[in-house]
Symmetry: C2
Subunit: 111 residues, 2 copies
DNA sequence: TATATTAATCGTATATTTGCGATATAAAAT
DNA sequence: ATTTTATATCGCAAATATACGATTAATATA
């Protein structure tokens, strides 16, 4: 019954959905903003800026990382994160492509 | 304990996350594709094109609609759906804005 | 009016996500 | 060597999401 059927869709659809899922939480959007503003890589500073516990932030960072949107390197006793621009750009392009593809088909809508 | 803290973030962050969440499933990406290809509005035709039960598709349509990405009107005994281009465009712009805002801050990354 | 047809909703089972405290790990400082 | 500092991971509780069959609702059509 409740088997998830993601495998039944195309790779592109799955990839796009996974990318969207990584962005599908305000905390993760906020983390990306922080990483961009402080253009040097940031670690637990994020914890101070977000209204979440350290373990929760760490978990969100892990999700962003496993989705490929950020990179993280160990820097002594701390971890340094930054945005993976290439992946971000790639997904942005893919998203724009989908959007434009849809858009060019027809602007007319019946409802 | 497990109270979701979405309210603790800004409206823009919440809106973007909600938009992303609507796209965060391959079935919903696929539905948008179908709605774009058949530029006339489509109802249960989607069910025939997706590997999902009618009730499941209906649920995904409801989510896309409540996120504002599609419109739906009752047309006799059937429902006609189409993409809400305005909302889509607005979210695309907001997403691009975030992306560009981030991008312009600095291309350099330390990791 | 009875009966298809179409789609939404309900109920339910299961899976996943979110969040936090507690604990573990690992490097730096004392 | 011990302690501090910074971060990841574990374990758990609660909330959400996913999926489907069954039912309901609403409109056509016979």
């Amino acid at each position: 019954m409740a088997i998830h059927k993601k495998e039944a869709f195309s790779k592109k659809e799955q990839d796009l959905a996974e990318f969207a899922k990584a962005l599908a939480h305000p905390a993760r959007i906020a983390i990306l903003k922080v990483l961009a503003q402080h253009n040097e890589c940031i670690c637990g500073e994020i914890v101070d800026l977000l209204p979440l516990a350290q373990s929760t932030v760490s978990q969100h960072l892990k999700e962003l990382k496993s989705a490929g949107l950020i990179n993280g390197v160990v820097d002594g006793p701390r971890s340094c994160y930054c945005i993976n621009w290439k992946a971000f750009e790639k997904f942005n392009a893919e998203f724009s492509f989908l959007f434009n593809h849809l858009k060019l088909t027809k602007m007319q809508s019946c409802c």
